[in-house]
Structure formats: C-alpha cells, structure tokens
C-alpha cells in the first residue's frame, strides 16, 4: 500500500515546485500554467486518498466528485484568466504584470 506514499509525496513535490514557479516566473502564461499544475497536484492527492479509502475495490467516490468539480472550476478560472491576459497583451504588448504606478 505504499502506492499511497509515492503519489502523496509526488503531490507534495508538485505543489512545492509550482509555488516556486508562480513566485519566480514573471510571464503570465507561466504563472497560469503553474497554477494549473498546482491544481493537478491537489487533485492527485485527493485521488490518492480515494484509492486509500477503497472498500472491496470500490474507491471513495467523494474525493472523485471533488476532483471532478475542481477540474471544472480550475478550467473556468484558467480560461477567464487567459482571456484577461490576452486582452491585456493585445492592449499593451506586455507579457508580464506591470503596475500602473497610479497614473491614469
């Protein structure tokens, strides 16, 4: 049953790597990619938990439902963020988030 540990630790590692990516990468798309993979890391942990919770070969369906919900929520937020990023890029040509310096 150390399948649980392998994937659980993998989820922990992925989460940490993605946090590093969000902090250090300034390109908006990289940040969005990192956030998405961070979501996948959490989902991986949930599915690992579901597998651990199995009874007679049936995995725990509650984390499965949570992951399915989470995937849809994540893609919604991602698509919206991409739409914003692309509009921003089309307006300014920037690929990084710049402050407006309070000017209008």
């Amino acid at each position: 049953m150390s399948e649980f540990l392998i994937y659980g630790l993998a989820a922990a590692a992925l989460f940490a790597i993605c946090l590093h990516g969000i902090i250090t990468r300034t390109h908006i798309l990289r940040k969005i990619l990192a956030l998405n993979m961070m979501g996948s890391a959490v989902f991986l942990l949930l599915i690992t938990i579901a597998e651990r919770n199995q009874v007679d070969g049936v995995a725990d369906p509650v984390p499965h439902a949570m992951v399915l919900t989470g995937i849809v929520v994540a893609v919604s937020a991602t698509a919206f963020a991409l739409a914003l990023a692309r509009r921003y890029h089309a307006q300014t040509g920037h690929t990084e988030l710049h402050d407006e310096d309070g000017s209008t």
């Binding site: 649980f4 540990l5 940490a16 590093h20 990468r25 049936v58 369906p61 499965h64 439902a65 919604s76």
Partner: protein
C-alpha cells in the same frame, strides 16, 4: 530557437528565497502526508450504503448529482460566470461570427465530416454511460464542445447556434435548468435538492443532459471569447 521568455526571470534573491520556501513547503507537506494513516475508509461505506436510493449505480455520479448536488450546481455557476466574464471582456452579448471567406479545403472538410459525428456520438455515449460506469456530463460536454469548436474553427458557418439568444440560453441551460427543477420540487414541499425517489434517475439524466450542453457551449464561448477581437484588430481592408 526564438527565446522570448528569458528563464529564470526574477532576481537572484527572490529565486533563492523561493527555493528555500519551496523546499520548506515540501518538507511540511511530506510530513503531513507521512503522518496520515495508510488505512482508512473515508466515506466509501456511507456512500455505498445509500447508493440504492440515489437513482444511479455509478458512485461518483451519485455523489455529484445527488448526495452533493449542491456542489455541482454551484460549480456549473462558476463555469457560467467564467463564460459570462469573457463575454463582458468583449463587451458582447454573442460570439463574433467566423470570418466567412475561409474555405475548409478538401482534407479538412473530410476530417471534419468524419470527426464531428464521431465526437458527438462519443459524447452522448459518455453521458449515457455515466449512470452506471465511468463517464458523465462534464466529460461528455468537453467532447461535444471540442466538436463544436472544430466545426467553428474549420470555417463552417454554424447553424445560427451562437446568436445572442441561443448563446445565452445555452450558457444558462445547465445552471438554470438544475435550479428550476430543484426550486419547483422545493416549492411543492420537498427538501431543497431532494428528488422524489421514483423520479431520481430521470431527473439526474435530464440535469446531466442540460449540464452537458451548457458545458459544451461554455467551452466554445471561453475559447472564442478569449481571443482578442480578431475582427477589430485586423488591418483595415482585411476580410471581416
């Protein structure tokens, strides 16, 4: 090789601090994971005991559309909001029309003619299967959405599907339909989001159908609306 995104692109101090933070976080998370019991049952038994009352046989579907239907209902609202937000960004009530002059070409035409029916059949199959085996509304919606998108991107004038009223109706269908069913039952005395046992299976199928359609159209809307106005920014004289 074009390198427009120099990596790494933050200062060295930030990088070092971030690595320290990342390693510390990994350590903390690993400790937590190692601390968890390796054997547990969670809610598996609880779900399996009552699955007979849910109207479906596939446990995740039972959880999604009956036991925790509230989550799913709100999740469809999140999707609706994202699509609506993308439309706000375009200041549009409908999706832009596909530039008309693009002709698919024989290969693409053949491919589209083959793929679209296949995708739709796959989608419906996934939906239908979802009641007793892996599959379900969101997967089916994604596949059908991909088919619609392909239809659009390959230059076909879609069937008036994305007029303002159609778009709005399609985006709303899942959330509003789900809400209408739940509200009607609620008014007639049932607990909110409770289905009459005899009707549970049918209601779930209807709700899944509506969600599938909304998911498919939302994905198309998100994909198309995410593009900054191609028509507006194209050089003057270009095709509309």
């Amino acid at each position: 090789m074009e390198n427009r995104d120099p990596i790494p692109d933050s200062g060295p101090i930030v990088r070092v601090l971030s690595i320290i933070l990342g390693v510390a976080l990994f350590g903390i998370l690993a400790t937590a994971v190692l601390d968890l019991d390796v054997e547990a049952t969670g809610l598996t038994d609880t779900v399996m005991e009552r699955i007979g009352e849910s109207g479906v046989d596939h446990p995740p579907t039972a959880v999604l559309l009956n036991f925790r239907a509230y989550d799913t209902w709100l999740e469809v609202a999140v999707l609706l909001l994202a699509a609506w937000g993308a439309l706000v960004l375009r200041q549009a009530t409908r999706l832009p029309e596909q530039p008309a002059a693009r002709s698919p070409g024989p290969v693409l035409d053949w491919l589209v003619r083959m793929l679209i029916p296949l995708a739709i059949v796959t989608g419906v199959y996934l939906l239908w299967r979802g009641t007793d085996a892996p599959g379900g509304a969101f997967q089916a919606g994604a596949v059908i959405g991909a088919a619609l998108l392909l239809l659009r991107l390959s230059g076909y004038r879609s069937i008036g599907l994305f007029s303002a009223a159609w778009l709005r109706g399609s985006l709303l269908a899942g959330f509003a339909g789900f809400m209408a069913i739940a509200t009607l039952l609620f008014i007639t005395g049932w607990t909110f989001l409770e289905y009459p046992p005899a009707w549970a299976g049918l209601i779930i199928v209807i709700v899944e159908l509506l969600i599938t359609w909304s998911v498919a159209v939302s994905f198309v809307a998100l994909f198309v609306a995410a593009r900054p106005d191609d028509s507006a920014t194209e050089p003057v004289g270009g095709e509309r």
